[in-house]
Amino acid sequence: MNAQTLSVMALWAATTLYSIAMLAYAVRFSRMAEVQGATKRQSLVTAGAPTSPESGTVASQPQPPAPDRALGIARATMLVGALFHMLGVGARAVEAGHVPWSTMYEYTITGSLVTVLVFLGVQARRDIAYLGAGVSGLAAVSLGLALSVLYAASTGLPPALQSFWLIIHVSIAIIATGVFAVAFIATIAQLIRDRYESVSPRPEGRLARGAHSLPPAAALEALAFRLNAVGFVLWTFTVMAGAVWAEHVWGRYWGWDPKEVWSFVIWVIFAAYLHARTTQGWGGRRSAYLALVGFVALIMNFTVVNYVFQGLHTYAGP
C-alpha cells in the first residue's frame, strides 16, 4: 500500500468515524434534553422548598445522570477519527513531498483536522460536548466533500509556491479557519439558546429541551468571543504574512487580487464584530450574526473566490 492509498483510506475512515461521532453526540444531546426535561418536571414538584440565599448566582443544581454511553461512543469515535485524520494528512504530506496545504483538497483535509483538534483542545479544558455534533458533522461533511469532489492527485509545487512562506502564511490561515469554524458552531449554539431564553414562558418540546441543556447564552457568547478573538489575531497575521510574501514573490504587498479583497472583507467583518460586542444595542444576538456573516465570507473566500474569480491565487483552485 503506498502513501496515496493509505492517505485516502485513512481519510475515508475518519469521515465515517466523524459521522458516527456526530450521531452519538446528537443522541446524547437529545437524551440530555429528556433527562433535563425529567428533572425539570421533578423540580416543579419540589418547587417552593426554601432555597439558601447564599447560593446566589452559583448554579448548584444537582447534576442529572448524564447519558454516558452515547457520550463515551461519541468521544471515542471522535478521537479515533482524529487519529485516522492525522494519519491521512500525514500520508498525503509524505506522498506530495511538501506541506499538505497547497491545493483546495489539501487545504480542506488539513483545515478540517485543525477544526477537530481545536475542539478536542478546548474540550480538554472545559466541557463543550454540546458542540460535538456540530464540529464532527462539519468535519465529516468537509472531509467527504474533499475526498469526493475536490480530490486531486499531488502534482508538486509550482515555482510561486516554493517558499517557506507557504508554511507560515497558509498554515496560519488554516489554523485561523479551524478556530473560526468551532467559533461558528458555538455562535449557532448561542443563537439557539438566546432564542430559547428570549421566549417567555420557556417553550416546551424536544428542541426547547435541547436548548435548555445548553449553557446560558452569555456563557456561549463568551466562548465564541474567545475563539473568534484567537481567530481574528491569527487572520490578521495571515493577511500580514501574505502581504510580506506577496511583496517577495509578486513585487507588491497588496494588489487587491480577489483573494486579497475577500481576506480584507473577512478581516473587516470580524473587526466589526469585535466593535459590535461593545456597542450599545449591538451586543449578544446582533454581533453573533456578524460573526456568522464573517464565517460565511471565510467559506466564500475559499470556495466561490477559487472557482469563479480569476486572480493570482488560482493555483489554490480546483
Binding site: G56, T155, L223, R226, M240, A243, E247, G251, Q280
Partner: protein, 532 residues
C-alpha cells in the same frame, strides 16, 4: 432669543433648545463620526464596498478585461465605469469611507489616550461594601487578618520590573468602617495592558495608512522585457512601462546595467512549471560585474529596489530578406505565451523594405508541435519540436503616424493578408534553422535561433520598513488588547485580632476562565504564609 429654536419633545410638549450654530453642527458631526455606532456602520460599509472590487473587472488589476467589459455591456459598462465600480479601491466613495473611518478612529483614540493616562495615575478604587454579588467568591479562616492582607498584597504586587507597573496588579489596602465594625479591605486591579494594547493597535493602523500614503508618492516601478544575451540599463526610458509616485525623482535611479545571460527552466512531463531561474550579470556603477540569478521567489536586491522575475517566453530570432534580396529585418522578437504549453503569439513589423509595400508578419510559435485532428498544437513548453506558423500582411504598418503602437499587435487598418491560390489567408510553416519563401515572392524568412526572454519588474518602495514596523506593532497591540486580562480581586476581613474569616471575591469578563484559579492561588498563598 434668536439663538433658540422650539422643538417638540413629544406630542404635548415643546421645548426651547439653543440653535446649533456652525460650530455646533461641526461638534455634532464630529461626535457622530467618532461614535462607536458610526465606526461600526463604516466598517460594515467598508466590507460591503470592497466586494464589487472582486466581482467586477478592475482597471488597475486587468485593464484589458475591464475594457472588454465596458465594450461588452453597452449600458452598464459606461455607467459602472463612471461611478467608480471598475476602480473600486481608487473610487471617491471607497476613499470617503476609509478616510471617515480613520477620522473616527483618530477622534476616538486621542481622548481615550488622555483618559487612559489619567486612569493609570488615578488611585485604585476601594473594595465594594459587599462582595455578596460576585459569583467568584470564597472564604478562608486565618489567624491574623493583617498578616493575611500583607501576604496577599505581597503576592499580588507586581515584580519590580519596568513593565510590572503596566501589566501587574495595582493593590491598595484600606482600614475602614464596614457594616459589622472596622474591617481591612484589599483591592487588586489589573487590565491596563488591554487598553494600552488597544490604543497601540489603533495608532499602528494610522501608522500603516500613513506608510501606504508615503509609499504611493515615493514608489517607482518599471517593467522591461530582455532577450537572452541583451542588456538593460536602469533609466526611465529603458523600461517598457514605468510608473512612479508624485514625489519620485527620476534622477535618483541608480544607473546599473543588467545582462540577461540565460534562463534555466524546468517543466515536468505534463508541462507544469517546476522552476525558473534567470542567470544575469549585474554591473553597478563603480563595482565589478558579478553573476547572480533571479528566481520567482527570490528577487534580486539592487541599489534602490528589487528586481522580480515576472514572466518568461521565447523570442525567435529572424532574418527577413525582401524581394530584392536585401536584409529588411534581423533580430529576436518576443512572443507572448498564450497558454501553459507556451503557445506564443508574436508580430514582426518590417517597415524597411527596399521596394513595395511594408510587410507585417503575424506568427504563432508551438514549442513542441504535434499534429492531431484539431490541427497543430503544442503539448509541452520545452522546445522539443519548435514550429512557427505565420501569415504575411502587406500595406502600411502605421508606424509613421506618431502614435505609440503596441509591439505585440499588428495594426490591420492599412494592412491586408496575403492569400494563397485557393483564396484563403496563406499560412506558412517554418522550423527552426529553416529558410522559407514568403508567398507572392515577397522575399524569404530565416529562423535563425530560439532565444528566451524574461519579463523583469523593478520595484522600489521606501515605505516598506515602516509598513512592517507598524504591522508588527498593530499585531502586538491586537494580541494585548484581546488576550490581556482585566481582573479585579478583593479581600475583606474584620479588623479584629485573633482568628477571623477572610472573604475573597474576584470579577472579570465572562470569557476569563482562569479567574477562579487565580482567586484560589491568592487564598492558598495567604493560607501557606499564615501557617508558616
Amino acid at each position: 432669543m434668536a439663538r433658540e429654536k422650539r422643538i417638540s419633545v413629544d406630542n404635548y410638549a415643546v421645548a426651547a433648545v439653543p440653535r446649533l450654530g456652525w460650530s455646533g453642527w461641526a461638534r455634532w458631526f464630529w461626535r457622530q463620526v467618532t461614535s462607536m455606532r458610526v465606526a461600526l456602520i463604516l466598517l460594515l460599509m467598508l466590507a460591503l464596498a470592497a466586494i464589487p472590487g472582486s466581482v467586477l473587472p478592475q482597471w488597475p488589476q486587468d485593464a484589458a478585461a475591464t475594457r472588454a467589459f465596458i465594450e461588452g455591456n453597452e449600458f452598464w459598462g459606461p455607467v459602472l465605469d463612471v461611478s467608480g465600480f471598475l476602480d473600486v479601491f481608487g473610487s471617491p466613495w471607497f476613499t470617503a469611507i476609509y478616510l471617515l473611518l480613520f477620522a473616527s478612529l483618530i477622534g476616538c483614540i486621542i481622548p481615550r489616550t488622555g483618559a487612559h493616562y489619567r486612569a493609570l495615575r488615578a488611585p485604585v478604587s476601594p473594595a465594594p461594601r459587599s462582595l455578596a454579588r460576585y459569583a467568584e467568591r470564597r472564604t478562608l479562616s486565618v489567624p491574623d487578618a493583617q498578616a493575611a492582607m500583607d501576604a496577599a498584597a505581597a503576592m499580588l504586587r507586581p515584580e519590580p520590573r519596568w513593565w510590572g507597573a503596566v501589566t501587574g496588579y495595582r493593590v491598595r489596602v484600606d482600614h475602614r468602617q464596614g457594616g459589622d465594625g472596622p474591617e481591612l479591605a484589599l483591592t487588586a486591579d489589573k487590565g491596563h495592558v488591554r487598553e494600552i494594547g488597544n490604543l497601540l493597535f489603533h495608532v499602528s493602523l494610522v501608522g500603516i495608512l500613513m506608510a501606504v500614503a508615503m509609499g504611493s508618492v515615493l514608489m517607482h516601478r518599471g517593467q522591461a522585457i530582455i532577450v537572452e544575451g541583451r542588456s538593460f540599463t536602469n533609466a526611465v526610458v529603458a523600461y517598457d512601462s514605468f510608473e512612479a509616485g508624485a514625489l519620485f525623482d527620476p534622477a535618483s535611479l541608480s544607473p546599473f546595467t543588467l545582462t540577461f545571460d540565460s534562463l534555466d527552466s524546468r517543466f515536468d512531463t505534463d508541462g507544469r512549471p517546476r522552476s525558473f531561474q534567470a542567470n544575469v550579470t549585474l554591473t553597478e556603477p563603480g563595482l565589478a560585474p558579478w553573476s547572480t540569478d533571479i528566481q520567482v521567489n527570490r528577487p534580486l536586491q539592487v541599489d534602490g529596489g528589487k528586481i522580480y522575475l515576472q514572466g518568461n517566453g521565447y523570442a525567435p530570432d529572424f532574418t527577413v530578406r525582401d524581394s530584392d534580396g536585401n536584409i529588411a529585418f534581423a533580430g529576436p522578437v518576443p512572443f507572448l505565451p498564450q497558454d501553459s504549453f507556451y503557445t506564443s503569439d508574436g508580430v514582426v513589423k518590417i517597415p524597411d523594405v527596399t521596394s513595395g509595400p511594408q510587410l507585417g508578419i503575424k506568427a504563432t510559435l508551438l514549442p513542441t508541435a504535434i499534429m492531431d485532428i484539431d490541427g497543430p498544437r503544442s503539448v509541452h513548453p520545452d522546445p522539443a519540436n519548435p514550429v512557427i506558423f505565420f501569415s504575411v500582411y502587406t500595406g502600411d504598418l502605421g508606424l509613421d503616424r506618431g502614435i505609440p503602437q503596441n509591439v505585440y499587435i499588428l495594426d490591420e487598418s492599412e494592412m491586408n493578408p496575403v492569400h494563397d491560390a485557393a483564396g484563403d489567408v496563406a499560412i506558412v510553416a517554418i522550423a527552426l534553422g529553416d529558410t522559407v519563401d514568403l508567398p507572392d515572392g515577397l522575399g524569404t524568412v530565416t529562423w535563425e535561433t530560439l532565444p528566451r526572454f524574461v519579463a523583469l519588474d523593478l520595484r522600489a518602495d521606501p515605505s516598506l520598513p515602516w509598513l512592517l514596523v507598524f504591522s508588527i506593532l498593530s499585531l502586538l497591540g491586537l494580541g494585548l488588547s484581546l488576550f490581556g486580562s482585566r481582573r479585579r480581586l478583593w479581600l475583606v476581613a474584620p479588623a479584629a485580632s485573633g482568628t477571623t474569616v477572610v472573604t475573597g471575591a474576584a470579577y472579570a469578563p465572562l470569557y476569563d476562565e482562569t479567574l477562579g484559579t487565580r482567586l484560589h492561588q491568592v487564598l492558598d498563598a495567604v493560607a501557606t504564609k499564615e501557617q508558616a
